[in-house]
Structures are given as structure tokens and as C-alpha cells.
Subunit: 192 residues, 2 copies
């Protein structure tokens, strides 16, 4: 998605350890017109998949997921990280490894919101090793829902998450793929 790619190249910054920071427009601060068009683009790419639910994980996946839900007019669910008191016990649980914090955490989705009749599109802002996407896909599987695919704003193509998911036959659509980060230089895959 050309517009997103240009924003990454123009506004993305590299922190120590090769962390790509896009919090001037995608997370932390969000450009609502860009995020609307991201939602429309995901809707276009998954138009034929008869999606009934969008699934993401709090917090940074929510804007793109809500925008996609608006474009497809289907409900959006965000998985909560464990501990929320006002979610009752009737839940799907999965475990996600955080490479940022080097620890595992639990995510949950209330059972009434995902069932075997649902066709689910997972949306997230980033895909690197695929930890969050795999946790969400595990919840889709527990619910007996059909996984239509995974829509990612920015995939780190130099990490294995996208490759692993595609090798399992899952449709992964990334709006921008970072090929490499070398010092301050970001290189994107072309023709994406």
C-alpha cells in the first residue's frame, strides 16, 4: 500500500536494537484518514472471504482492526491481555511470547463472541516472529471458527513470522513489508 510505505519511509524511525518506530501515525498517535484507508484496503483484499468477525489484540492492533470492521460492517473483537476483572470465566485462553519484554503473557476472548459459524480475519499492526498472530490463530482454532487470513500493516520480512504462517497455508496480506533495517536505513519490499 503505497501511502503506508511512503509514511514508513518518511516518518519511521529506528530505535536501538532495530526497533521500527511508527508512532507518529500508526500507533500511539494515529492518522485517522490513513487508518480508514488501511481498513478499506484490508476489506478489499479479503472481500471474497465472507468475513464475519475481525480479531485483534490490545492495544496497538485496535485502530486498524476497527477501521477494517467499519469497512466490512462486521464486529471487531480485541483479545485482552490477562487480568481484566470484568471479563467472566467463559473464555478462550492462549499464551503469547513477548519478545519486547521477553516473557509470556495470556490473552483471552470471551466465548460468546466467537463460534464455529464465524469466519475470522485477524488484523494487527506488526508481524515479526508471529507470536501474537499465532496466539490469535490458536483462539480461532479453539472456537472452531474458520480463519480467513491475517492482515498486517507492517511485516518485518527479515523475521520468520510471515514465512511460517504462509507455509501453514494461511493467507497473510501485509500492506508493507520491511526487507531490512540497516542503521537508520529502512528498505521495503517492492510491488507489495
Amino acid at each position: 500500500m503505497k501511502e503506508l510505505e511512503e509514511r514508513i519511509l518518511n516518518e519511521g524511525r529506528i530505535l536501538e536494537g532495530g526497533i521500527l518506530k511508527v508512532d507518529s501515525f500508526l500507533n500511539h498517535q494515529i492518522d485517522p484518514d490513513l487508518i480508514s484507508r488501511i481498513g478499506v484496503e484490508f476489506a478489499r483484499r479479503f472481500e471474497a472471504d465472507n468475513v464475519t468477525k475481525i480479531l485483534t489484540i490490545e492495544a496497538s492492533g485496535i485502530p486498524a482492526a476497527v477501521a477494517t470492521a467499519m469497512a466490512l460492517h462486521v464486529p471487531c473483537i480485541y483479545a485482552k491481555k490477562v487480568g481484566a476483572k470484568n471479563v467472566s470465566g467463559d473464555v478462550y485462553l492462549s499464551s503469547v511470547h513477548s519478545y519486547t519484554y521477553d516473557k509470556d503473557y495470556t490473552i483471552l476472548v470471551s466465548r460468546p463472541y466467537l463460534s464455529c459459524t464465524d469466519r475470522v480475519l485477524i488484523i494487527d499492526d506488526f508481524l515479526a516472529c508471529g507470536a501474537a498472530a499465532n496466539g490469535l490463530a490458536d483462539i480461532v482454532s479453539q472456537a472452531g471458527s474458520y480463519l480467513c487470513g491475517i492482515g498486517i500493516c507492517i511485516e518485518k520480512g527479515f523475521q520468520d513470522g510471515g514465512k511460517d504462517l504462509r507455509e501453514r497455508g494461511i493467507k497473510v496480506e501485509s500492506l508493507a513489508i520491511v526487507k531490512s533495517i540497516d542503521g537508520d536505513k529502512i528498505t521495503l519490499e517492492e510491488n507489495n
Copy 2:
């Protein structure tokens, strides 16, 4: 806002301790058409205030805040709860007491995204004691921004948050106000 009030009365559930659960349409699972109209309604109520930024707090405030930002075509910032590694040190910090978990936590906003030229509208899903709203208002104050007001989806009118904020001269617009919760019965204030 009649549509939101009807959803609360029809779908809201009361958990032990009088917690109002609206996670079938407002948080956890989100109805994107409702949340779009919530955004349009906040935009209407703050139309004359020349808002330049929307400010909310992760995670449950994000959908309504993004929808409002879409309607007003201004950026949306969500304050992060402390610990996110990829936010650098140049931040505004404030402390918020969580009554749900009975502990204080720190919220942060990166300084580049709020300045003395900004006119800020705070958006959140719930207002009870006002802890989150006060933390966000504190950050607006630290930035030297002008606080246009606070837009709340559901105010618990039987708690003091809204009253305290209004007594300080802050414009608070709540789309639904819960007057009382008695057993399983939710009573809303009329003509809101």
C-alpha cells in the same frame, strides 16, 4: 444518545460488585457501525471547539477515540500504560489510580505529539471516579495544550467523576448516564 442507551438497556449486564458489562458492543467486541455513529456524535457536540487532537488511554478508549478522530479529521493519541519499550524518554507522565485493580499505574504520552498550540478533546468509554480522565487532563495541562472537553460514552452518574470535572469548569459530554444499578436493573438518566 438514544441508540447507545438502548444498547446498554438491552445488552448491558451487571457483574458482581455492580460492574456494568457492555463488552458485546462497546469494548472487547465492538459494533463498528455504532462506534462510527458515536464518533460522529462526539464530533457534533464539540464541533465549535476547534479540536486539533483527540486523546484517550489504552485499550478500551481507543475505538471511540479513533471514530471521533475520523469524524473530525484530527490525529488521535492514546496514552500508554507504563512499560512500553519502544517509547523513548521524551514523554509526559501522569499517575492514574485503578479502582478495578486497586493500584496506581503510570500513563505516558510522547512529548512531540502534544504542544501548547493544541486544542485537545479527551475521549473514553467509561467515566466513574474520573481517575483516567484526570490523568489525561493532567497530561494536557503539562503540555500547555487547551482542554476543549471530555467526551464519555457511558458515565456512571452515581459516582463523583463527572460532577467533580464539571465543577472545575470542564465541558463533559456523556452519551449515556447511568443513574443507578440496582441488582440487575440499570436506570439511565433521561433527556441526555
